[in-house]
Amino acid sequence: MEFLSVALAVVVAALSSAFSQGIATKAAMEGIARQPEASGDIRTTLILALAFMEALTLFSFVVAILLWTKI
């Protein structure tokens, strides 16, 4: 049961961050398709935004690892 809670912590975070990353990437790709000359700018901003979203998953991952070692 405790392991389930640890797994759930990562799963929920990964699910939501994957969803938001998908939305962000979709918007960026539409932007590139509409305006290919701005692709460099968009790419840098996209990577930055993705890194910020990824960080939240990773924080919960660290918390899960800490919980796992406690059990």
């Binding site: 700018d41 990577i47 930055l48 890194a51 990824e54 960080a55 990773l58 991952f61 660290v62 796992w68």
Partner: protein
């Protein structure tokens, strides 16, 4: 997975003590950082020994990195951004090599240890604050905490304090997670199964090194330009 398996996994990831220097523990993190430095210094010397105006051969490689960050700095800060190229470029190359060092067999990469990434982040953030003080003067620097309205002071302070934490945790957790996944997969199915994840590890290492230096650039630009 029971506790025994967990111990086995963490043994492959956690830094272990190599030797004692008086009361100070010298872990694999420090030793591996020394090894990377020993690789990186001769490499830098060899690659930049005979610099020509027209690059040829191996000179393309460092020039590509330098040009990329040069363009990035000019886009974000204009002409004065050029002098931060050594800082940002060094951070990128050093972190890249640390991240990719886990393809050396039996090597525990130093970036999977929180203490080393925290050191990177604290050094970077302190340097960024010093650059801000130098550019704006002490008065202007203190003033930027009260920028839109004085009410925002706690939030601005919190923002500055959270920066090193998020910067170090991002790098640490990425590399730690990558290594954990590969180790668990390797313990379950040793043949072929970890290879795709290892490819992902290469991409992740490059992107995380890039994100670290990109965030440094953006913090500097924020502080110089002001809100």
């Amino acid at each position: 997975m029971d506790l025994h398996a967990l111990q086995e996994v963490l043994e492959h990831i956690r830094p272990s003590v190599v030797f004692y220097l008086g009361p100070v523990r010298i872990t694999t993190t420090v030793v591996n950082t020394w090894i990377i430095m020993a690789i990186l210094l001769p490499l830098a010397y060899l690659l930049t020994r005979r610099l020509g105006t027209v690059p040829r051969g191996a000179q393309h490689l460092p020039e590509m990195v330098a040009e990329f960050f040069h363009n990035l700095l000019e886009e974000t800060m204009g002409k004065e951004g050029r002098k931060y190229l050594p800082l940002v470029g060094t951070l990128f190359i050093f972190i890249l090599f640390l991240n990719l060092s886990w393809f050396i067999p039996n090597m525990k990469p130093p970036t999977t240890d929180l203490s080393s990434t925290l050191a990177f982040a604290v050094v970077t953030i302190v340097l960024v604050q010093l650059i801000g003080i130098k550019k704006k003067g002490l008065k202007g620097y203190i003033k930027h905490y009260f920028q839109p309205t004085p009410f925002m002071f706690p939030l601005n302070l919190l923002e500055e304090l959270v920066k090193p934490v998020s910067l170090s945790l991002r790098l640490f957790a990425n590399m730690f997670g990558e290594k954990t996944v590969v180790t668990v997969l390797f313990l379950m199915v040793p043949v072929f199964c970890p290879i795709p994840v290892m490819f992902l590890g290469i991409i992740m290492g490059v992107i995380q090194a890039f994100v670290f230096s990109l965030l440094t650039v953006i913090y500097i630009a924020n502080l110089i330009k002001g809100h």
